[in-house]
């Protein structure tokens, strides 16, 4: 993996970080919260690892009372 730091990028990020306190939180600086900027056309075949969901689903016992 790359280990050298691109100076221009580093400078950009450093200045962004220092303006953070009290003014803006970089962690919510943009509305997409780090999601891709491109639109997804279909979820088919997509490995969705974006939203900290539980891939195992709701417990089977929860499904029973819903239909009864």
């Amino acid at each position: 993996m790359p280990s050298t730091i691109n100076r221009r990028n580093w400078f950009k990020q450093a200045s962004f970080a220092t303006m953070g306190l009290g003014l803006s939180l970089p962690s919510f600086a943009n509305d997409t919260q780090g999601l891709p900027t491109k639109k997804i056309n279909s979820n088919k075949g997509l490995v969705n690892l974006s939203s900290n969901e539980n891939p195992y689903g709701m417990c089977p016992k929860s499904k029973q009372p819903l239909l009864k």
Partner: protein, 314 residues
Amino acid sequence: MMPFANRYSFNVDGLKDCQATIARYYGVEKENILLTAGSSIVLDFCARFFYKTGGNIVAADPTFFVLPATAKKLGLIVNAVPIDSNRKIDLSAMLSTINNDTQLVYLVNPNNPTGTLLKPDAMKSFCAEASKKSAVLIDEAYLDFLDAPDNESMIPLAAGNPNILVTRTFSKIHGMAGMRMGFVISHPDRIKQLEQALFNESQVAISNLTLAAALASLQDEEHRAYCKQKNATSRDYAFKSLKEMKFDPIPSVTNFILFPIGNDYEGNFADFMLTKNIYLRSATYFGQKCCRVSVGTLDEMQQFIKVMKETWKA
């Protein structure tokens, strides 16, 4: 529940007193709890509820965005307290950042996006100290992924102190993100205030289907244990694989992993991964370009790692 779709939950056997049932499950009373459709809404609402002209909130940086984002939008100052060198929330820095204008302290434990945990003892003393000066909201969305004794909740403290609030969600370990179920627990006086400002009959705001599913899910300890164990296996696999690739992922106790990708990475990593059918997040945290990947099934994590290995040139 479908045959009772025409009825309000307070007229349906088994749902009449969900608030009390859920409260008791967590060892508190009905008067201590406000049910909400997921927990994001109560995070957003608390920023509004505690709003005061000239006020500020204190939150870690980075942390879950909803509450700070709303606070900022309303014009509250957001005092962002950088996480420490171990990538953990810096409790003493959080404490010393609280001032006379602080309306609310927001603390996510375990934290998102770092996946790190603060131990119960440290949390308890923080809550005791901070709540003398400000309201404190502890977001325990991911606490269920932990085992005892680390999974000790701040709920008992919240139940007896109007300045301590705890939020929980059914979106994570319960696997009910689409059903929308969450709640906030605090002292009855605080809950009454929140109800008056938001909605008095909070149970009526949740659909019968969701209430029934939530009650059944609470009883199913086994499913949660299953999810927890599966999650740990997938997470450990992904963590180890990233390490082998010479990344430095932050050890996570949750169902997601954050790792720096190197500041010389050009372009948008999430966009790039999407071209490989892997949907995840990338953003700059603590001055470093990072990727946050949720923990899926083992098969999904293998697909993720496979793409990483094929595309990441050492």
